[in-house]
């Protein structure tokens, strides 16, 4: 037994990262592939910023937008539809290739003029206004937009705008001078960028090992090595943190926070994620097509009570589809969604609701507290006389004509209402295309002003009008911004930064340090 204990102790010693410059992260999920252009998942978004750069970066320490030079050192609008960018000249990719205009044009055009279907899909909803990028000289490029673009920097700053090496990628398969689909498939398993960490090892769905990249153009990475490993069970992640097997754990549910706070060796940080859990309602379902019914279903829900009960009051309940991250377009004054059970009863009576069953589709565990929220909502509906039933289903039913109500989420893909509300609720966008949301000429006209006005006030006005339409049509209700937590060793200083999109694990200089150092 003594020997057993000794060996075990030895094993523990080996498993404990004693060197302060190395950390191990226990993540609920590790990405199945790594390609910033193709990906927009919550899982994938965690991993790109350490290894890839965009042309124009921003100060992520604050919510207010401040653009910073990154791979581009300066940018000028030559014409309303043409932007010229000067590129940094000392940038080297992780494979040793120097970065030039060819790489930048290749990276941007793989999205703007996508031929690879996963890129086409990703580019269409957010980069549709960009026609092409062209090389002027080795360190100057121009981006051509189809129409005057109010969101130049925002859309260049996207994860989909991260720069990858052209020659390396094209040589991954087939003809080394041609970008084939198989090149992009291969890239997603052997990703190369220009960021402060190179990806030294990647086992899909299992492990990512970052190593400090010595030739990074900016401030050197604070960690020699960071290993992210998948630990699907929350209890195992927390225990592994306590045993010292990992230093940082992602996706800690709110009910675990008291446990962590009670331990002197662990602490938790969190924030209300820039993402709404939403309840969507099918405008075209026979029982649901009267807008008053949908308004009533929405008004019956006491979202503050859900927040208190499920999120310890740490989630954020919005009055409209708006977030502080939207900067000048943050409009807390809008009152699009309210709790008013009395009015809900009246609306149901006016609409002639006769107790028809209303089915709420919810996945069992996909959204933290999702099923509990659905069950609580059934009680709230019952209080106004709605006959609701939760249907636990893992399938996506958002495209089914039989879907009545279901849980969903609207992440902020980039810091603008276009990057959150806009991606999902555009005319002919996913929600309309799936047949549960209707728009008309008037909506499209307001949308045009919201998307393309170069005047901030005009965009705000148009967004307010869109929210009036959403209030009247009630196609969805944002429940709250969920509170997402990370747990870590007490001497580790890390926190999600307010300027990032949700879930980014930022280990760059100034973003992570050890208190004991």
């Amino acid at each position: 037994m003594k020997r057993l204990l000794q060996t075990t102790a030895l094993a523990m010693l080996v498993a404990t990262p004693a060197l302060a410059q190395e950390i191990t992260v226990g993540a609920a999920n590790v990405a199945p592939y790594l390609d910033p252009g193709r990906d927009h998942s919550n899982v994938g978004s965690q991993f790109y910023y350490n290894a890839f750069d965009v042309l124009i970066d921003r100060d992520y320490n604050k919510r207010e937008v401040e653009w910073l030079p990154a791979l581009a050192t300066e940018w000028t609008l030559l014409e309303p539809t043409v932007m010229e960018l000067k590129l940094r000249e000392d940038v080297v990719f992780h494979n040793g290739d120097p970065m030039t205009a060819d790489d930048v044009v290749f990276s941007l055009n793989r999205m703007y003029q996508a031929t690879f279907p996963p890129y086409q899909v990703r580019a269409r909803d957010r980069l549709g206004n960009f026609d092409r990028a062209e090389k002027v000289d080795d360190y100057t490029i121009r981006i051509h937009a189809k129409r005057e673009e109010p969101l130049w920097e925002t859309l260049i700053n996207l994860q989909q705008g991260m720069i990858i090496p052209a020659a390396y990628t094209m040589a991954l398969s087939g003809d080394p001078d041609v970008a084939e689909d198989s090149d992009f498939e291969a890239f997603s398993l052997a990703p190369v960028g220009t960021g402060p960490y190179k990806i030294a090892e990647f086992v899909p769905n299992e492990r990512i090992v970052y190593e400090r990249f010595g030739e990074f153009w900016g401030e050197a990475a604070p960690l020699e090595r960071a290993t992210v490993r998948r630990i699907p069970e929350t209890a195992s992640r927390i225990t592994a943190l306590r045993t010292g097997e990992i230093d940082l754990a992602t996706n800690i549910a709110p009910d675990q926070l008291s446990l962590i706070e009670a331990e002197p060796t662990m602490k938790a940080v969190g924030s209300a994620t820039a993402l709404f859990h939403v309840m969507i309602m099918n405008q075209n379902h026979e029982v649901m097509k009267d807008a008053r019914i949908r308004q009533a279903l929405s008004m019956a829900i006491d979202r503050d009570a859900l927040n208190e009960a499920l999120w310890l009051g740490k989630a954020v309940v919005p009055a409209s589809h708006t977030m502080e991250e939207f900067g000048e377009l943050y409009m807390p004054e809008l009152e699009t969604f309210e709790y008013n059970p009395e009015r809900a009863k009246e609306l149901l009576a006016e609409a002639g609701y006769n107790g028809e069953e209303i089915v709420y589709d919810s996945q069992s565990t996909y959204y933290t507290n999702g099923l509990l929220a659905a069950q609580a909502i059934m009680e709230m509906w019952a209080n106004v006389g709605v006959n609701g039933r939760v249907n636990v289903i893992e399938e996506w039913t958002g495209g089914s004509p039989a879907m009545m109500v279901r849980s969903w989420s609207n992440p902020m893909y980039f810091a603008d209402p276009f990057g959150s509300f806009g991606v999902m609720w555009a005319p002919n966008g996913p929600s309309e295309s799936e047949g549960r949301f209707n728009t008309d000429a008037e909506y499209a006209e307001i949308w045009e002003r919201f998307r393309f006005s170069t005047d901030i006030e005009a965009r705000k006005q148009a967004y307010a009008e869109l929210m009036e339409r959403i209030k009247a049509d009630a196609p969805f209700l944002p429940l709250y911004r969920p509170y997402e937590s990370w747990a870590m060793r007490t001497d580790l200083e890390w926190a999600p930064k307010p300027g990032h999109i949700p879930y980014v694990l930022d280990f760059r200089a100034g973003s992570i340090e050890f208190a004991s150092n």
Partner: protein
């Protein structure tokens, strides 16, 4: 023996074809992989684009033929989600799973058979009762409860054992015990009952009467004759372990094995991985059955393979 081998081979081939077809059909019925590959909220046009790209617009027959064809290219197709050859994805995980399976089987045999014998021989003393009480207790505890309980005690409180991964032998202790707890309990009970049956037989009395030592009576005459029953149970138990027993344990201990892979690919509708994962597990079960069949001939020389 040759006749047996031919027949067994044919039986395996037919079983295999049935499994392969079933794996193909069942995964196809399980839902739409596009939602998991590209996220929810796609326009119909984009959805169609991806359906074509991933070859899901082909007829079921074409997909079936492509699937059968993928046996011969050595890659078994490409994972929808990871974009790697399925052979690579599965190969990465077979060894960790096999290690856990072997460790659990070894632990089960090493503990359950002696305990079962002890419980049978000393059935009237407190020793027998104690063994059976423990066996009953462990038989009632699901493996995930045992796993979480051990994590709480040995990792969270005592900090003796690592929780996640498979790096050192210390990593094996808790997963192995969690996997085999139920099996040890079950097999102990079966061994005891089988031994009790045999020990009541006439030939045991004869063996004692002719003056054999009690140990020899129990082990040579008792255990050998009880072993047919015990072997069948072991076969079933190990097969069930290979098929499903590891799923929860692998998830809890972040053990990079096949069980965890199967669950994840089922959730993600990663058909290519899922169907070959099912096939890999089926092959394991077939192998286990074949080994048990062979072991029967050792246990009872009267059994001649191929004459059934």
């Amino acid at each position: 023996m040759l006749k047996y081998m031919t027949r067994a081979g044919l039986k395996i081939a037919i079983t295999f074809l049935a499994i392969v077809t079933l794996a193909f059909a069942a995964t196809r019925l399980s839902g739409d992989p596009i939602n998991y590959i590209a996220g929810q909220g796609l326009t119909q046009a984009d959805r169609d684009l991806l359906v074509t790209y991933y070859g899901l617009d082909r007829s079921i027959l074409e997909q079936y033929l492509a699937f059968m064809g993928s046996f011969f290219d050595g890659e078994f197709g490409l994972s929808f989600v990871e974009r790697r050859p399925v052979s690579v994805v599965i190969a990465e995980r077979i060894w960790p799973s096999l290690q856990l399976l072997l460790a659990s089987t070894a632990l089960t045999l090493a503990l359950a058979i002696p305990l079962g014998i002890v419980a049978a021989v000393w059935r009237k003393s407190w020793v027998g009762s104690a063994v059976m009480t423990l066996a009953f207790l462990f038989y009632a505890v699901p493996n995930f409860v045992l796993a979480v309980f051990m994590i709480l005690v040995f990792s969270y409180w005592l900090n003796w054992l690592p929780v996640v991964g498979n790096g050192t032998w210390a990593h094996f202790l808790m997963p192995t015990i969690a996997m085999s707890g139920l099996l040890i309990a079950g097999l102990t009970r079966f061994t005891r009952n089988a031994m009790l049956d045999v020990l009541g037989q006439d030939f045991i009395r004869t063996a004692r009467a002719k003056g054999l030592a009690e140990t020899e009576v129990i082990l040579r005459h008792g255990l050998r004759n009880a072993s047919i029953t015990i072997l069948s149970v072991i076969g079933l138990q190990v097969a069930s372990l290979a098929a499903a027993g590891s799923v929860v344990v692998e998830s809890i201990f972040a053990w990079p094995g096949i069980g965890e892979l199967l669950v994840r690919s089922a959730i993600q509708r990663d058909y290519p991985v899922l169907q070959f994962g099912v096939i890999a597990v089926s092959i394991a079960v077939l192998i286990i059955n074949a080994v048990v069949d062979l072991a029967y001939t050792w246990a009872d020389p009267r059994i001649r393979l191929g004459e059934a």
